[in-house]
Symmetry: C2
Subunit: 451 residues, 2 copies
């Protein structure tokens, strides 16, 4: 057997970090459910042909899956899903007759991409998606609603301030068409690199003879559009001031303005209309979203999505959708690497029941049962060791309370303060914040005393 | 694109069944945490060589995983895990320096096995495992504790009565050695088929010249042992009455008796000492568990495990463990197929806020926010359609309440009873059992009225 080593790109957490991840997943799930999204899970595998052709580099990043016992010439035609949108679109087609539309679902699962691992880019990672899909049509107002759901979830999580950047692909498309540009997709792809390579380089690429070959003035206009952003609907005036006219542009501006106006009514300043946002995946057709943590802009988006009008179609009916996906692994590994969050202990246990001798185990189990019946996580000491050793057992795990049976009856010690009180397993309760592990934000709080 | 069809062995649930699955997973998780088990998740993949050689048919059932973009001659050396015990053992070795022992963990994840799909046997399925691992040694009392944790979880779930069958592999091993049998493993493997093929066939196999070639009297003794079972420690006398002596047998009997005695103190009748239980996986070395739903015995075990003393070893230190795994997918698909459980609705939503016209959407969203702030799942109607259509929208999903704004202010209608009352979004609350979807057990309850 080879030595045990981590596999690059497949992160695993120690228990105290997993407690943080669980807290994030619980808050996200709870928020999604409060907004009426139903949970589904899809299988990990899809036919490879369904996974293919969703974006330029996606194909070679797909993990193919094949039984070791399969005949050598049997083609492997299944692959692990690389996102949750493509499987969801397939699920909708497969179950259309049994679902009620518009169908709101959330999905929290692992996905796999064979790309080169680096900070925030993993080969296995968790995503938390919400999508709303209609049959035939999908009202526009859902494009306003989704980022508000995300904002609601994020407002309950211990994360840095964030901004959700919104655009509508119709804006650059209509604007480019109004400028007489024909190869809209190539120009979009170049502009998408603005943050990475800067305006000068973008101008070179846009005007290059072997590229879109735009005139200097047209390229300037393209850049002017990409540089527009606003936290309200005032971006419309800025675009109008550029003097370009096209009906697709008008529609895109109207829709993005409606999103900004509605969002500002419910969550002022949360959304930024940012006209350079495009998204890499090919299936988006209208509104697109990205999300930055303020102060961590170079890390890229931690929550993205958009509207897709033709991803799910069975030839007869089309199921247009809009969705947004929280990159849960991306988000929390950033918080861990920056020391922004940690779990208060490495176990759910709030109380360790100590033993004077092994004969007390049955009694100790009864004490544990009585405490658990009132929702208090408890374990019994592994052995009737010296008290110092049993307290050390609790301390190493961050278990705050140790329960003793003494000549005077049961007593419980807060091992942080040393305070010890008489206690009845039928009634004693730890302070509410000690019942479950909590999430600490070391850079925001005064460090807790820990004796 | 080929037609969308299910993939055999990869079950997916509709939203109302997923609500049942989530309830089961929540209860299991909550129980595991109350007993002080810390959550971990391991990556989906392990090196194939670590997955291999854990049981006779396991190898060819492993799914190998390989990037589509990998060079054609690159060996695929990763596979999807087929259980959660082997990855856990690897995790313990990898993180031994950072874990506190004995380490109690739970793990709820999908696993994959490329076996022939049939009812209750899937290629992708969810398991919920608890294990306790020590460094160097592991106290015996954990073998008593684990089935009590499972019983605690099951007692909170809407499932048929169940029995946990326990054995200790030392009992047949010591007994066989006491009889002078040398090839203990072969005899165990034959006896393991007793329920399937019956005593006569077992006798033939045991006495066959090209098999263990036992004498008729020895084979009879082997069968007598396998037929012993009791709900207390009285199995010991039954074994003693067979007159076989061996120190390994003595140790096995003592341990199993201790489990039965302790279990009967906390949960009388829950455990059955059943001396034919052996388990297929090779890594078990002592106590083994299986669990039957009473009335569904032919379905096989829905929760199994045991003690493994040498699965995790780095050459210097051995980490003995004991674990038990709930076959969550196996369990709930049985309940579904027998019509024993269903979700009360197909969405978390408890209240649909109806619209008189689209201009009311902002107000409706404020109503929704006010209700959600008090933990009530709400969605706003997709469109200002006729009221009948909006009520039908709620009815199709099982949403119990529809919120209207009328000339007299806000009112809320229970669409099952038709009752409609004046309501304030800041204070109105649905009955507690309507806030979240509930799990119905159609064969146990009077059917609910549903207008």
């Amino acid at each position: 057997m080879s030595k045990v080593t981590p596999i690059s790109g497949f992160p695993e957490f120690l228990p105290s970090d997993r407690i943080v991840e669980q807290h994030f997943l619980d808050v996200i799930r709870e928020t999604f459910e409060l907004h009426g999204f139903a949970s589904i899970e899809t299988r990990a595998v899809e036919p490879v042909e369904r996974l293919s052709n969703q974006g330029e580099d996606a194909d070679k990043e797909i993990y193919a899956v094949r039984r070791l016992g399969a005949p050598a010439d049997e083609k492997s035609d299944l692959g692990l899903h690389f996102d949750l949108t493509v499987p969801f679109a397939r699920y909708v087609l497969e179950n259309a007759g049994k679902l009620a539309f518009p169908f709101r679902r959330y999905q929290i699962q692992k996905v796999w991409r064979g790309e080169r691992p680096q900070e925030g880019r993993y080969r296995e990672f968790a995503q938390a998606d919400i999508d709303i899909v209609g049959d035939g049509t999908l009202p526009f107002h859902y494009e306003v609603e989704l980022p508000l759901v995300i904002a609601d979830a994020f407002s309950k999580l211990p994360i840095p301030p964030f901004r959700i950047q919104v655009n509508n692909r119709q804006i650059p498309e209509g604007f480019y068409r109004g400028l007489g540009i024909e190869d809209v997709a190539s120009v979009l792809r170049i502009v998408d690199k603005l943050d990475k390579i800067g305006a000068d380089k973008i101008t070179q690429l846009l005007t290059a003879e072997n590229g879109p070959a735009l005139s200097a003035e047209t390229a300037k206009q393209v850049l002017r559009l990409a540089e527009i952003s606003s936290t309200d609907a005032s971006f419309v005036e800025q675009v109008r001031a550029l003097g370009v006219q096209h009906e697709i542009l008008d529609e895109g501006l109207e829709r993005l303005a409606a999103i900004m106006t509605a969002a500002n009514e419910h969550a002022p300043g949360l959304l930024v209309a940012d006209l350079k946002i495009a998204r890499g995946l090919d299936y988006y057709t209208g509104t697109v979203y990205e999300t930055q943590l303020i102060g961590h802009e170079s890390y890229g988006s931690i929550c993205s999505g958009g509207r897709y009008d033709s991803l799910a179609s069975d030839g007869k009916t089309t199921y247009p959708g809009v969705g947004i996906s929280i990159g849960v692994s991306r988000l929390i590994t950033r918080l861990f690497s920056q020391g922004l969050v940690k779990g208060s202990r490495s176990t759910p246990t709030a109380v360790l029941v100590a033993l004077n001798n092994e004969d007390e185990r049955a009694d100790a189990m009864r004490t544990a049962i009585a405490l658990r019946a009132r929702g208090i996580p408890v374990e019994v000491a592994p052995a009737a060791a010296k008290f110092g050793k049993q307290i050390k057992f609790a301390d190493r795990r961050g278990i705050p309370f140790v329960w003793f049976s003494t000549e005077n009856g049961a007593e419980v010690k807060d091992i942080r303060s040393g305070e010890q009180v008489v206690a009845d397993p039928a009634t004693w309760t730890p302070p509410a914040h000690d019942v479950r592990p909590s999430i600490e934000t070391p850079q925001l709080e005064t460090p807790q005393e820990n004796s």
